[in-house]
Subunit: 139 residues, 2 copies
Amino acid sequence: MEPATKERATRQKTAIRNVIDAARRPLTPLEVLEGAREQVPALSIATVYRNIRSLLLDGSIHMVPLPGDNPRYESNQAAATHHHHFQCTACQRVFDVLDCPGDLKHMTPKGFVVERHELTFYGRCAECARKAGGRSRPS
Amino acid sequence: MEPATKERATRQKTAIRNVIDAARRPLTPLEVLEGAREQVPALSIATVYRNIRSLLLDGSIHMVPLPGDNPRYESNQAAATHHHHFQCTACQRVFDVLDCPGDLKHMTPKGFVVERHELTFYGRCAECARKAGGRSRPS
DNA sequence: CTACGTGCAAAAAGTTTGCAATCGC
DNA sequence: GCGATTGCAAACTTTTTGCACGTAG
């Protein structure tokens, strides 16, 4: 077997891990970059992607795939239990939904074997709903 | 208001519409291109995208956003009723699931306003499940 | 000191757009 | 003929990779 290349503790790796751990919602790689640059201004997006990949491999973080949008990443300690997500149609942020409808396998056509499922809600997050009306998205 | 630019019936537009209408599952733009090229060999991918956009706008087709994969498009007549999707982890194809768990709004955190939801199943489609074991994906 | 990690720029993959040529009406 | 539509190529976005330099251990 391979010599199992040893991980090194770098400033950028620490900053990236901190940003993801501190967030209470799944973040985009760009959000991670922006957050981590407060501690390592010269940080490059390539390094963010490389570290996200290694954190995924060692199980520290979790990918949140979304219908019609780029994946977010969240700390695995926040994602220990099976749950789902809510994307705000106003601010585009994604939040956890700590619940699951449960048994859904019976819904699929005959012969199909279900391994897992993803459920995503769309609407207004508490914050954007409070700001009333139909206002714009930040982009 | 604008003069409402009038639509023209071209060979490529007809071919594209036919392919999507004839499919009994949601297709990728590339699948649409391949199918439509049987009738219009010189068809370009840009034209497929432009026509998909205009078909979306006039409501003839429907976008199927998927977590972690590119969107598929399906005929609106096939998608008249609310339903969900199943993506095969072997062949990557997407199929309709003509059912819905129903009331899920109670799952979201306080203050969040749910407008809609997407539910995607993953596993083996009937065909790939029949072919037993854990075989490769076509790509 | 050594090789893992980083920054930069170029490459991939999917989608969009500018522009001149084409073709429906 | 006029203008919508097309094909091609270039631009764009998100993510990945090659390469030379930097740096942790």
